[in-house]
């Protein structure tokens, strides 16, 4: 397909040809021609956000929950700079989005023109790739290429900066077919020799462990199906990073919980004590490894990743396999089956015995109360009352995020949207807007902190405008709880500026946003209040008033190895839970 049109028309045509149905955006001078074209058509639905950061997070939520590429349109200068946090967030968590930014006319670039900024310069380190289009005849190809780069290989954000004169200029449109990037052709199939080597190690492992991450989710739902199959075939235990939750079903007995700084005792000690680590689509992030020199000292490591730069970055591995998770898992299963491989059953049952002893410590246990709502209890109840529904969870950043990861049991991929790599407060509410757009009939809940949610609260207005019944479940501890926890543990209890005075009245705030406000502060009322929230067909701000002093455990203090974890005092005493054999390992 080739024909003459203006740059602005090309933008719409290219988005439609890329299968985009929803475009999150905010207008301004440098994108007015594109907005004019949006006005004239009905194929693309534009969702007007209230801040460009919200547009990018919404696109992230949309992309992560649907598997499609998220699309954003913002103006030049402040529009572009407001998008930077979202771009960085998407880069860190490998979320495929394309952000179109307006730019001042080409002849003014470099002139400090009104609302000019060096968008490609500013976004170069926070995008997977970016483009400045200086010729209208390049525009459609560049947009198609942007979608290709965003979605293929390790996904990520791509910016296309479009000067206003290019939007007015006429040129030739080319369709998405036959757009293949000159150089960027990520490798999907893993090296079969390496995969065979991995299988050999797996057959003979005595204390094996699957450690999986967001890469499995990004690889598509097929990867989760294959992962489950391989885990069942081998009988090995499995843990995952924050980003990987849901790839494996949390109710399965082989699941040993999340690992890392706030991971379970059994997951972290298994990482420390395993003799074979099978890392699939995770990247040995510092929240996972803790002290590098003491990280899983006795294990051989297999690492499957589509991004070669993730391999041997922090931790040296023995068998690197570069490829897409689903492809590699498929080959692993095929080879395992073809040689009728069997795990070392005797050793494995010993290993499970050990893990079960660690599990018996009940590291997530907390002391409940009938006077005050414990945050963990709130999330447990939320889980129980929503688990049989078609539910998607987003979060903000802080203690509530970690409790959500610990206590909300994810059974399927793409149900869990959180800001992992960047840890962006304010992510969850706009992300929920995006998720609800992609799944209009599902129950979408942002498990929020009262501090985080104020950073992007204005997107409640977006939710109201588009009648998106998102539920903002605020774990209100009146503190920046995670900051307060670090201050308690590491800075002598000097709570410097981590208490929020003059919080808004969230119930009244909800009403101001044409939404519904619910407050609950008694454990006995909680179930009823949650039921009410679920029933409401409008956006809800749920002010769940919880114990302000609760800390999030277990916790590996930074810079410490996995076996120096701090546990809360509600778990089972180590003496009664750990055998002599276990003590050697701990």
């Amino acid at each position: 397909m080739q024909h003459e049109m203006t740059g602005a028309e090309m933008v719409i045509q290219a988005l439609v040809d890329q299968g985009v149905e929803h475009l999150f955006g905010y207008p301004g001078g440098a994108v007015l021609p594109i907005y004019d074209e949006l006005f004239k058509q009905e194929k693309l639905r534009h969702i007007l956000v209230r801040h460009e950061q919200g547009a990018v997070h919404a696109a992230e939520g949309y992309a992560r929950s649907s598997g499609k590429v998220g699309a954003v349109l913002v103006t030049s200068g402040p529009g572009a700079t407001n998008a930077v946090t979202g771009l960085t967030d998407a880069l860190m968590d490998s979320i495929p989005i394309v952000v179109l930014t307006g730019q001042v006319p080409t002849h003014l670039i470099g002139n400090d023109a009104f609302q000019e900024c060096d968008t490609v310069g500013i976004t170069r380190p926070c995008t997977k790739h970016n483009y400045l289009v200086k010729n209208v005849n390049d525009l459609s190809r560049v947009i198609h290429e942007a979608f290709y780069v965003a979605a293929n290989g390790r996904p990520g954000p791509v910016v296309v900066d479009i000067p206003k004169d290019i939007q007015f200029a006429k040129g030739t449109y080319v369709g998405p077919r036959n757009i293949q990037h000159k150089t960027y052709r990520p490798r999907l199939k893993g090296d079969i020799e390496k995969i065979k080597q991995a299988i050999e190690l797996m057959r003979h492992a005595k204390r094996p462990l699957f450690y999986t991450g967001g890469g499995v989710i990004n690889s598509g739902n097929e990867a989760s199906v294959l992962l489950r199959e391989l885990v069942k075939l081998t009988g090995f235990p499995i843990t995952s990073t924050l980003m990987g939750l849901g790839a494996y079903a949390a109710h399965d007995p082989q699941w040993i919980g999340m690992l890392g700084m706030h991971g379970t005792y059994e997951a972290n000690l298994s990482m420390h004590g395993c003799d074979l680590m099978i890392c699939i689509g995770a990247r040995f992030d510092d929240r996972i490894t803790g002290k590098l020199d003491a990280f899983s000292p006795g294990s051989k490591k297999i690492h499957v990743d589509i991004d070669p730069s993730s391999i041997n970055k922090n931790v040296k591995v023995d068998v690197p396999i570069i490829g897409d998770c689903a492809h590699v898992l498929e080959d692993m299963i095929r080879i395992w089956r073809s040689i009728s491989a069997q795990p070392d059953k005797k050793a494995l049952s010993q290993w499970w015995k050990q893990i079960d002893q660690w599990r018996a410590r009940k590291s997530l246990a907390y002391k409940n109360s009938d006077k005050i709502i414990k945050p963990q209890y709130a999330i447990q109840r939320l889980y129980e009352l929503t688990k049989d529904k078609d539910t998607y969870i987003t979060t903000e950043v802080g203690q509530h995020q970690m409790w959500a990861a610990q206590f909300y049991q994810f059974q399927e991929p793409r149900r869990w949207m959180t800001s992992g790599g960047l840890g962006t407060m304010g992510y969850g509410l706009p992300a929920a807007v995006g998720v609800q757009m992609a799944h209009p009939n599902s129950l979408v809940i942002d498990i929020a902190g009262e501090a985080s949610v104020l950073m992007t609260m204005q997107e409640m207005s977006t939710a109201a405008q588009y009648e998106l019944p998102i539920k903002i479940f605020i774990i209100n501890n009146q503190y920046m709880g995670m900051v307060r926890q670090w201050q308690e543990l590491l800075h002598g209890g000097r709570y410097s500026h981590s208490y929020t005075e003059a919080l808004p009245d969230f119930v009244k705030l909800a009403e101001a946003y044409h939404a519904v406000g619910i407050r609950c502060s008694k454990p006995a009322d909680l179930d009823g209040a949650i039921e009410e929230m679920i029933k409401v067909k409008k956006p809800v701000l749920f002010d769940c008033v919880v114990d302000p002093n609760e800390n999030c455990f277990p916790m590996i203090p930074s810079g410490r190895p996995h076996n120096e974890m701090i546990l809360g005092d509600a778990g089972v005493d180590p003496e009664s839970a750990i055998t002599e054999e276990g003590k050697v390992m701990v």
Binding site: S558, G568, D569
Partner: protein, 189 residues
């Protein structure tokens, strides 16, 4: 809630991050990078080095295949073997990068640099400068009654040596291109 540490080795470090890893040996490497000659490509490469804290000892860049819009960037860098591997992988991840070759791996690459060296002096110093230039096969490309500009190519160490020798003879200034390099043998990158 009361806190119960599992072991009592060192006190919890008051930081968010794990300590640096124990030190490994640092190696010098010369990388040749084939890239699309498009706007911003050099900024991407340099930004990657500064953003991730890698070293650039020397950098040269120029278009090498005009019809294909290809440029070749030569970077001399240093780092531990793990860092060098990271540098290569990170470079290859950049969308406009075609290939990255470590010219120093396995064999010695041919490395050359060009320098322009200005020397100002009289009498014996002038004679001595000319004599040394001759020994280094440097050419005189500008001369006044007071000064010479020498053009010299060779390995960086040879240029270093020449510059040191010129110092007492009235060295004014030096301009160097940085290393450009190519692998030995019949194969191209």
């Amino acid at each position: 809630m009361r806190v119960k540490p599992m072991s009592k080795s060192e006190p919890a470090s008051a930081t968010h991050y794990p300590a640096a890893k124990s030190v490994e040996r640092v190696e010098h490497r010369t990388l040749s990078i084939l890239v699309d000659n498009e706007p911003g490509v050099l900024a991407r490469v340099i930004g990657l080095f500064s953003g991730r804290g890698y070293n650039i000892d020397s950098l040269t860049v120029s278009e090498t295949e005009h019809e294909k819009h290809l440029s070749r960037i030569t970077i001399a860098t240093q780092g531990t073997p793990m860092v060098i591997e990271q540098i290569k992988n990170q470079l290859e991840r950049l969308v406009p990068v075609h290939r990255v070759v470590d010219l120093t791996a396995g064999q010695t690459a041919i490395e050359r640099e060009l320098a322009l060296v200005k020397v100002r002096g009289k009498d014996n110093n002038r004679v001595e400068a000319l004599r040394l230039a001759d020994a280094f096969r440097a050419r005189v490309i500008d001369a006044t009654t007071l000064s010479f500009v020498f053009e010299l190519t060779g390995k960086p160490e040879k240029i270093d040596q020449f510059v040191v020798l010129m110092q007492p003879l009235g060295l004014v200034e030096v301009s160097r291109t940085g290393v450009c390099a190519i692998a030995r043998g019949p194969e191209g990158m």
